[in-house]
């Protein structure tokens, strides 16, 4: 249908529309109009992606000069592919309605592992191996060597792409990962480099968070993307953790040992080059004197996305003289390495800030702040000069250099923690230096600064106001949308007591209590008897799940559950879990029914949807608080309190509840779907916890279902399931939660729709 969103003609590739989709588009349009940032929470399964795409594509077509590009970031590879497929659907609809040939170029970008078509390289299993092998075939000096030595193996796909691929732009169309590969095979071009090259002129780019948020990758891939782009972070409820992860570094003794090896290799190589080709080193020296002027010019003219690892100030200066020659730099690295080694020889936990660390290093080994800041750049330059083939081998020394640059650049927002041993195994020495980022805004700041509109959206972003705070930006729109329902297809229940009135909770004091474990077991057993097909149960942590499973086994609860359903359990091994997941789905599919025991914050809870019969009930055993004893977390909480005035408890609860919401939200993926959401912990009933659930879940929790016993839960569930099992047709929804164009245009409905968006 064709919609009129405040004067913008939007093609929507379906015959009907959900009211909340319309409302979402309104808010999105306002965000784009204001050229600002937005935070939008929309229930899962209400067609968020297609609404986003429809509106932004329409906007791009209407105002091609205002919005030149859409950068859509999602989290997992299947998500990325889904987005592209939806986009394809939209574009087909455009072509059908307007009769014009589509002139949009949209493509997905992923790592080499998913795009490589070189027969040898693509057969490698791990991403890092693929990257390394690819680099050893395509690096510039390798290709240069080929001129003198024709036996030098190179990648023919890259050669072909380099020879002709850049002249002709990728023809307009929608390219998913497989389409890119097909295209690459047909032309004999490397799909990965083709995609990387093509994102510069593509209208829509779909890739993963890391390409924008991880400075190491963003610098390579996304540096030159146009400023007038709209950036969308989908499934963004965890975005702060992604930011933090990309800026944090851990250094163990093993890292240092490998680094030592790297430095030796570099030494050898330098020696060799010196004997044969001293001119090369002199040339490098000259370049370094010139400094990083080039990069500086580029940034001034605003062609590049800022690299947080390479802050503005250092671009003004030349590389300091003390590390300009290769030998000096190596000596410098050695000293730094020795210093780190001495720091790891501690017997007690040390925590210090970056300035303290710098002061200490100056006192002990006379390393100044300035050369440290240039460490990463200097190393890159050296590696290029020395023509190192396999970069993957030098990951250790790169890590150390990055650490040096980061620690000397940021005085705030980072902390250094040195732990001599793991807390769980105090007898085994395993010293680790954690250099952890506590401020997610550092990594995302360049994105907010550079791009005119950044939209953060997810099914679970409550409470909305916390994201602008921790990411340090000022959004123009913040809205949470409810789910209009013709029938209440979700049933959140809070189970607070067992049948014997024992309070159910996963809190630390009662964690080992047999009464609680038994009651949890009873809950699962009873539910397994009444819920059809699949049940997914989440535990707060892996260790907790292991213990509970063991004691359920001893108490014979699992045997009884097996009478009703098969049991599959998530393990720490991803391959094993994948197998269990597939078997789980198979068991749901063939009608036998199954239970999946899984872990909140685990891979399953983040990336797998349990649509329809794959998840008729989700049981959340306990509140998934993060492990609070970790020093890194403590430091972060402190930082949040000092910098953003967020109380520790507020943040912990927020974090726990967003994961709980993620877990239970996995079961509902649409209005025709239905599922029970069982929160098995009495603490969920408290207002501070409940209030942090997304609105679309919160509004269905009735006061009567706040502190149920297991029996009451079973009764309510039975009732709910029976109701839901009745046939549900399109006509039932029409006019309420599903609208035709005419219905959408009526006054009443527009008034109702205005209430769906809940401005925060």
């Amino acid at each position: 249908m064709k919609l009129n969103i405040e004067g913008l003609l939007v093609y929507f590739p379906y015959d009907y529309i959900y009211p909340e989709q319309y409302s979402y588009m309104l808010e999105l349009k306002r965000t784009l109009d204001a050229k600002g940032h937005g935070v939008l929470e929309m229930p899962s399964g209400t067609g968020k992606t297609i609404s986003l795409l429809s509106l932004i594509v329409a906007y791009q077509k209407a105002f091609p000069l205002d919005v030149t590009k859409l950068i859509y970031c999602s989290r997992t590879v299947p998500e990325i592919e889904k987005v592209v497929e939806e986009l394809r659907k939209l574009m087909e609809f455009y072509a059908k309605e307007t009769g014009e040939v589509n002139n949009f170029l949209a493509l997905a970008l992923s790592s080499r592992k998913n795009l490589c078509i070189h027969p040898e390289v693509s057969s490698l299993r791990f991403g890092k191996e693929v990257d390394g092998k690819c680099h050893s075939l395509t690096a510039s000096y390798i290709r240069a060597q080929r001129h003198s030595n024709p036996d030098q193996p190179v990648c023919r796909f890259y050669e072909e792409f380099d020879a002709v691929g850049r002249q002709v732009p990728l023809p307009a169309g929608i390219y998913n990962l497989d389409d890119l590969k097909d295209f690459g095979r047909r032309k004999g071009w490397c799909p990965y480099y083709l995609a990387r090259y093509s994102i510069l002129h593509a209208n829509i780019v779909v890739y993963s968070y890391h390409y924008l948020l991880d400075p190491k990758i963003a610098d390579l891939v996304s540096k030159e993307l146009a400023k007038k782009s709209v950036v969308v972070f989908d499934e963004a409820h965890n975005i702060d953790n992604v930011c933090i992860d990309s800026m944090s570094v851990n250094i163990t003794r093993r890292t240092l040992d490998r680094c030592q090896g790297n430095v030796e290799t570099l030494q050898h190589t330098i020696q060799k080059i010196k004997d044969t080709d001293a001119a090369k080193l002199r040339e490098e020296y000259r370049r370094l004197v010139e400094g990083l002027k080039e990069a500086n010019i580029a940034r001034e003219t605003d062609v590049y996305l800022a690299n947080p690892v390479l802050p503005d100030e250092i671009l003004q200066e030349a590389v300091p003289g003390s590390i300009r020659t290769a030998e000096h730099f190596l000596g410098f690295l050695r000293r730094f390495l020795e210093y780190l080694k001495s720091r790891l020889r501690v017997h007690h936990v040390v925590q210090e800030s970056a300035p303290q660390f710098l002061k200490d290093i100056f006192e002990k080994v006379c390393i100044d702040r300035k050369p440290l800041r240039f460490c990463a750049e200097r190393l890159q330059s050296l590696l290029r000069t020395l023509e190192i083939a396999d970069i993957a081998d030098f990951s250790a020394v790169t890590l150390i250099a990055n650490f040096a640059t980061l620690v000397s650049t940021y005085s705030l927002g980072f902390t250094i923690i040195i732990e001599p041993f793991d807390d769980r195994t105090p007898t085994i020495a395993n010293p680790v230096l954690h250099f952890s980022c506590m401020d997610p805004s550092i990594a995302i700041k360049p994105v907010f600064q550079r791009f005119q509109s950044v939209v953060i959206t997810s099914g679970t972003l409550s409470p909305l106001d916390i994201y602008p705070k921790i990411l340090d930006f000022r959004p123009v729109t913040m809205a949470s949308f409810t789910m209009t329902l013709a029938r209440t297809c979700l049933c959140p229940l809070i189970v607070g007591r067992g049948n014997d009135q024992v309070a159910l909770s996963s809190k630390f004091e009662t964690r080992e209590d047999f009464a609680v474990i038994r009651n949890y077991g009873n809950l699962l057993l009873e539910m397994s008897a009444i819920v059809p097909d699949g049940i997914v149960a989440f535990f707060t942590s892996y260790v907790y799940m292991e213990n509970i499973v063991a004691s359920w086994y001893e108490q014979g609860i699992l045997e009884n559950i097996q009478r009703n359903k098969l049991i599959f359990i998530e393990t720490q091994d991803a391959a094993e879990t994948s197998m269990a997941l597939e078997k789980y789905q198979e068991a749901c599919e063939n009608g036998r029914g199954a239970i999946l025991l899984s872990v909140a914050r685990g891979k399953v809870s983040e990336g797998i949807d349990f649509v329809h019969h794959f998840g008729r009930a989700v049981i959340m055993f306990g509140v998934p608080y993060v492990y609070t004893q970790s020093r890194i977390l403590k430091a972060r909480l402190e930082y949040l309190r000092d910098q953003f005035q967020i109380r520790e408890n507020d943040f912990l609860t927020f974090d726990a509840m967003r994961h709980a919401a993620q877990c239970v939200g996995r079961a509902i993926r649409g209005k025709t779907d239905y599922g029970l959401m069982i929160f098995a912990d009495k603490r969920y009933a408290r207002a501070d916890k409940r209030g942090k659930l997304p609105r679309w879940i919160q509004e269905h929790i009735s006061d009567g279902s706040l502190n149920l016993t297991v029996d009451e839960t079973v009764q309510l569930s039975k009732h709910f399931l029976r109701q839901m099992a009745q046939p549900f047709r399109q006509e039932d929804q029409l006019g309420l939660s599903l609208l035709t164009l005419e219905q959408l245009q009526s006054e009443d409905m527009l008034k109702k729709i205005a209430q769906i968006a809940h401005q925060a």
Partner: protein
């Protein structure tokens, strides 16, 4: 003796029946008794007729064995040989015990089958009522030719039955009971053993290796339950345990399952992440590789339980669906271009595409959800388009012919020019139209349309039954031709009388009833015609036979 071919399994002398001395014979298919000195049996029961056997209590003076038949009658044998009476009776009893179940199943199966057929097919049931219950033909005759067909096609309806899967909790169902003196008793049924074998092929292999030459069955299961294999901490299986190998095999099986990977890319956790952080970055530390060694015993046994549950569930699931696995594989192979190629790309996209499409589908947003159709898998599309190819294929027009014909007609119609000199006068035309309209002179036959309104529905129903019954009898009748055996001769004569009886007892009363209700139309005419044809045929056959005889 009745027939020499019968195998005699047991002969017991000095057995009394109705106060007469005689000899009891147990043969392959029946039990028989003949009085002393006579060469024929006065009592003879096929085993399939026997419902059960009863014996007199041990303390009683008379040593007797009673056979109860399905009909309710019973026959009692008295073992009168004083010295060996008890032994004789035991021997007879043992043998019967072995024989009866075999026949019982057969008999029951047949009965069940007949019952099922009657229940499932109302027409057949009506026919049965019409012909057998009213004693037009005997039940045996009725079934003779039906069950014959049935026995051949027997596997077909049976194989449709669903394979029974395995309960997920079958191991839990083996509840050990204490026997009072520091021991445990496990009750194993054949079902449970079957389940164990199907779920754990390794155990089955061990069983066939060891039982019965090195272990008795009982010993085997005792060891099974004692072994750590059955218990949860499998990690501790000693080397002397015969099941330690099973555990290893299970491990291997699990590994191969895991290594096979998953077909559905949406659940493949390995390829979920696009770009993992490099080693050393990030907050969450990768677990150090040393962690496995310093795990506590408890932790690793917990992990073993989890592993075991996953394996168990997977095996149970696989045992349930093992049968259909093969065709499924084939199907997927035909859809993929190259199943065994090294590069998984070649056959991944179809599954992936379908799954992705499923994932982005919003069925309620579409106007009408298209009917989900099952893809037709045609080996030869030709056959589908034309049906079975007939022997004289020339007679059939191919689709090309039809298209040509249509084209021809179209062309003709396009070039059609009315020949105005030879048209009918308008009055003639209108009278012709009137004659051809309903009610017109030429449309008298149109009155027949009303026959289903004229005749009340109960009569219609009755007529239908009569047709079915007559059809059945006639089928029997005509199936006797050509009459080339004496058996068929008998049958054809019998069928003729059956037909006559049918006409007398069923058709004539119906005809009278119709007349009573003044239904003018001759509804039974066709039926009578059919019967007359049959009689005619019979007469011809009979006269010929007479002529040949004379």
């Amino acid at each position: 003796m009745a027939s020499l071919s019968e195998e005699v399994l047991l002969v017991v002398k000095k057995v009394r029946q109705r106060k007469q001395d005689g000899t009891l014979y147990l043969m392959a298919e029946r039990i028989a008794w003949g009085p002393e000195g006579k060469d024929r049996f006065t009592v003879s029961h096929p085993y399939s007729d026997i419902r059960c056997q009863k014996i007199s209590p041990d303390g009683k003076a008379k040593v007797q064995l009673q056979l109860v038949l399905h009909t309710g009658e019973s026959t009692t044998f008295h073992f009168a040989n004083e010295s060996t009476a008890l032994k004789d009776r035991e021997a007879a009893k043992e043998l019967l015990q072995q024989l009866l179940p075999k026949f019982k199943k057969k008999a029951n199966k047949e009965l069940e089958e007949k019952n099922r057929m009657l229940q499932e097919d109302p027409v057949l049931f009506q026919l049965y009522k019409d012909l057998v219950v009213s004693q037009v033909i005997s039940a045996e005759e009725f079934w003779a030719n039906r069950l014959g067909g049935l026995n051949n096609s027997e596997p077909a309806p049976y194989s449709n039955k669903q394979e029974v899967g395995i309960s997920g909790a079958f191991l839990a169902d083996i509840r050990p009971q204490t026997d009072g003196c520091n021991g445990l008793r496990y009750n194993l049924t054949t079902d449970i053993i079957e389940s164990i074998f199907r779920t754990y092929p390794a155990v089955k292999q061990k069983y066939s290796e060891n039982v019965p030459h090195s272990l008795t069955e009982k010993e085997f299961w005792t060891r099974f339950f004692q072994s750590h294999y059955f218990h949860r901490d499998r990690i501790n299986t000693g080397t002397q345990d015969i099941f330690s190998e099973c555990a290893k095999q299970d491990e291997k099986g699990l590994m191969s399952l895991v290594n096979k990977g998953v077909k559905n890319p949406l659940v493949d956790l390995l390829s979920l992440e696009d770009k993992t952080l490099d080693e050393g970055y990030g907050l969450k530390q990768a677990l150090p590789s040393t962690s496995n060694t310093n795990k506590t015993v408890k932790e690793s046994s917990n992990a073993a339980i989890i592993k075991r549950f996953n394996h168990h569930s997977a095996m149970v699931l696989a045992a349930g669906s093992r049968k259909n696995e093969v065709p499924a594989d084939q199907a997927s192979e035909t859809s993929s271009t190259d199943g065994n190629s090294r590069d998984s790309d070649f056959f991944q996209p179809p599954v992936k595409k379908v799954k992705l499409q499923e994932a982005i589908e919003y069925e309620d947003l579409q106007r009408e959800s298209k009917q989900k159709t099952v893809a037709l898998n045609l080996k030869k599309s030709d056959r589908y388009a034309h049906g079975p190819v007939p022997l004289q294929s020339q007679k059939y027009t191919t689709s090309q012919d039809i298209i040509n014909a249509v084209n021809c007609i179209q062309q003709e119609m396009a070039h059609y020019k009315p020949n105005l000199t030879q048209v009918m006068s308008s009055t003639a035309a209108s009278s012709a139209i009137a004659a051809l309209s309903p009610g017109g002179v030429l449309m008298q036959g149109g009155a027949q349309q009303a026959i289903n309104q004229m005749v009340p529905s109960d009569i219609q129903g009755e007529l239908k039954h009569l047709y079915v019954a007559a059809g059945e009898l006639l089928r029997h009748f005509w199936s006797c031709f050509p009459v080339n055996t004496s058996f068929l001769e008998d049958k054809v004569i019998k069928m003729k009388s059956n037909l006559e009886r049918f006409q007398m007892t069923k058709l004539s009363p119906f005809k009278e009833k119709l007349q009573r209700q003044y239904l003018g139309t001759n509804l039974t005419g066709h039926l009578e015609e059919m019967l007359q044809t049959a009689y005619g045929k019979f007469h011809i056959w009979q006269t010929r036979r007479m002529m040949r005889k004379t």
